[in-house]
């Protein structure tokens, strides 16, 4: 059989056993291959060596304050949607050193000389790609580029996975971010029973699969994939009407709804931890006891933390009501003015992982109802 020339933009069918070859080639190129794994009955992101490391035969149930991994009854690998972790931990690590300084006469800076790791992300969902693009807007700007984010981001390889089985709290269809990835990946998979439909998204992706025994995707396979994705769009666990955002929030900053949600919210910051677009951070300075060495670290922060808005003289947001309002009015409100898009990708993590079942889609609906009354 003559070798088919695969181009960027074309879709092939990859027999599942061939998938490991892709991972091997990525490792040869110096990438750390990372993907979804099962640990302690939850999906986390960790090193993956081959397909066997992925959560085959599992799916997950999600609802407000509910997460459960269950057997799917089939042998697919990617029926399971993401868990609490998101990919932001790789480009925007929860804790990273900004600089060290040592006193020897004067103070001398020692920049951390670790090279940024090269990560191959296997199994990135369309909503997660949208989230990465949103964080790109925050960290890679014309007026300021975060070097830590930039170096990790430019080294990354993305293998996307389209969602045929949206989760119980998913609403990517409402946010226009899924269930199919429309771009910004190197390779994208849609999983059928025996093969992966493999879309080539970039030159780097094309290079990786060059020479692999890919088959051309025949019409029936393509149709199956498309049908599955179209149905998935209708099987979302949640919906959100975004037509009147951000105005709905910005015109109702004094709504009694903020008081109502504040009665339930514990300001625990779980939503900001699991949210793939939240980017707030804090600095911590650590100094040795003798005062001769100091290090500054950047750590994740949350607008729900009491110290977040503290300055000498008091706190501009001294209670849960003002903090919850800040989070929601930023995510689905002022974010649009700052970055040109809303900050929510509809992944549903904040709904799943809120211990008191606050549901962002319900909060928007409640705000709308109150505004109209």
């Amino acid at each position: 059989m003559a070798e088919i020339q695969w181009n960027v933009g074309s879709t092939a069918a990859l027999p599942k056993p061939q998938f490991d070859a892709i991972l091997a080639r990525l490792r040869e190129k110096g990438f750390q291959t990372v993907g979804p794994r099962l640990r302690d009955d939850a999906v986390v992101y960790g090193p993956v060596a081959n397909l066997a490391d992925f959560p085959q035969g599992f799916t997950s149930e999600e609802n407000a304050a509910l997460y459960r991994v269950v057997k799917s009854g089939n042998s697919r690998y990617f029926d399971i949607t993401p868990g609490a972790q998101s990919w932001k931990q790789y480009f925007f690590p929860p804790r990273v050193s900004l600089f060290k300084a040592r006193k020897n006469g004067g103070w001398k800076m020692e920049n951390s000389s670790e090279a940024a790791p090269r990560i191959a992300m296997i199994g990135v969902r369309p909503c997660e790609i949208a989230a990465i693009k949103i964080q790109d807007l925050a960290f890679l700007r014309d007026d300021f580029t975060d070097p830590l984010y930039r170096d990790r981001r430019k080294n990354a390889f993305i293998v996307a996975v389209n969602c045929l089985h949206p989760g119980g709290t998913c609403f990517c269809a409402s946010m226009g971010t899924g269930p199919k990835a429309s771009g910004d990946f190197d390779l994208a998979l849609t999983e059928l029973d025996d093969v992966f439909m493999l879309e080539i998204g970039s030159e780097a992706g094309r290079e990786i699969i060059e020479g692999l025994p890919l088959q051309s995707a025949d019409a029936s396979l393509k149709q199956k994939a498309e049908k599955g994705l179209a149905e998935a769009k209708k099987k979302m666990g949640r919906t959100m009407d975004t037509g009147d955002l951000p105005g709905l929030i910005l015109k109702n900053l004094n709504s009694p709804e903020w008081e109502a949600v504040a009665k339930r919210c514990m300001s625990c910051s779980s939503c900001t931890l699991v949210c793939p677009t939240c980017f707030c951070w804090d600095t911590q300075d650590h100094t040795s006891l003798d005062g001769n060495e100091t290090e500054r670290e950047r750590v994740w922060d949350s607008c729900f933390n009491p110290g977040y808005s503290y300055q000498a003289g008091g706190n501009t947001r001294p209670n849960t009501r003002s903090r919850y309002r800040q989070w929601l009015s930023h995510k689905l409100g002022t974010w649009k003015e700052q970055y040109g898009v809303l900050g929510c990708v509809g992944c549903g993590r904040c709904i799943t992982w809120c211990p008191v079942k606050i549901d962002i889609t319900e909060e928007i609906a409640a705000l709308r109802k109150e505004a109209r009354s």
Binding site: L98, F99, A101, K103, G106, W107, M109, N111, A138, F139, R141, D142, D143, F144, T145, D146, P147, R150, L250, L253, N254, F279, C280, W281, D282, T283, D285, T287, G291, T294, D301, C303, Y308, S309, Y310, Q311, A312, G313, T316, R317, P318, N319, R321, S322, R325, Q326, S329, H330, T334, E337, Q338
Partner: protein
């Protein structure tokens, strides 16, 4: 989304420079009033010192090794940059470390950050500077600019209020400013009977003169409650909101609109401010606890 014209934005600096401080040392430590002093910094590397420029209203993140950083407005003349002045009130860990600085001690500097008072765009206008308490230091660079270019401006009035006479800053400079035809009006919230000056809140000073809203600009800095009432008086006299400039303060960490702490609505006070035309922040400024 524009607050001040793009020309007022700080020039992009390399990211590596922005995250790690550059070293300066204390050239002078000038006590002012109780719990407050002006520290004058000189960059250790003369090339850095030469290259460093700032505009009135901008701030630096000052780094005290071992303690952390504080955002401090630059209070000195933008044309005299061999040493850079920062008036600091000692209220927290980092600023109390500032109070213990000696000549020659190292201080890290990141900056300058933020938008600036658009004083060059206001030539020909009458300028009202309304400052309260520690709000005067960020306005002093504007005064230096006006002194240097007095003929380019119309009436210039400085309204300055503090809690008591002992809390007034830069009192030795008032005479020089008056001589340059700046109407310096001082008031305090309370005083004993040795004080011959005015007693009353600074916003009420607006009642003592007339202004022409068509050619007046107001620049104000101080506690937000004071700003609120200065704006109230300016608006009552029909000064357009685009020509009322306020300097705001929020918890600042990165100084470059990245860490999120200083947000007020869509604005990062560290990069879209701290100087804002009131027209930009009007929808958010009076929302309680926003």
């Amino acid at each position: 989304m524009t607050t001040l014209a793009a020309a007022n934005r700080p020039a992009a600096v390399s990211a590596e420079e922005l995250l790690a401080p550059r070293w300066a040392e204390v050239a002078e430590f000038q006590p002012e009033i109780e719990n407050l002093a002006t520290i004058w910094l000189r960059f250790k590397d003369p090339a850095l010192g030469k290259a460093y420029t700032f505009q009135p209203g901008q701030f630096n993140m000052l780094y005290l090794p071992g303690y952390g950083e504080a955002a401090i407005s630059i209070c000195s003349d933008a044309e005299k940059r061999d040493v850079i002045g920062h008036t600091v009130r000692f209220v927290g860990n980092v600023t109390r470390a500032v109070s213990r600085l000696k000549i020659g001690d190292p201080v890290g500097v990141r900056g300058p950050f933020g938008t600036h008072w658009p004083i060059e765009q206001l030539e020909g206008k009458d300028i009202i500077l309304a400052a309260g308490g520690i709000g005067l230091p960020p306005l002093r660079p504007v005064i230096y600019h006006i002194l240097r270019n007095r003929a380019k401006y119309g009436k210039v009035i400085l309204l300055y209020g503090a809690r008591t006479p002992a809390d007034l800053l830069y009192t030795t400079q008032f005479e020089e400013w008056r001589k340059a035809d700046i109407d310096v009006q001082i008031t305090v919230d309370r005083a004993d009977d040795t004080w011959k000056g005015q007693v009353g809140v600074v916003s009420m000073l607006f009642y003592h003169f007339r202004l022409d809203p068509a050619k007046t600009a107001v620049m104000t800095c101080g506690p937000e409650i004071m700003i609120r009432f200065v704006v109230f008086e300016a608006l009552a006299r029909r000064v357009p909101t685009e020509r009322i400039y306020v300097s705001l303060e929020r918890n600042m960490k990165c100084g470059q609109g990245s860490c999120g702490h200083c947000q007020l609505g869509p604005f990062f006070v560290c990069k879209d401010g701290p100087v804002f035309p009131f027209s930009a922040i009007e929808p958010y400024f009076n929302v309680e606890e926003f």
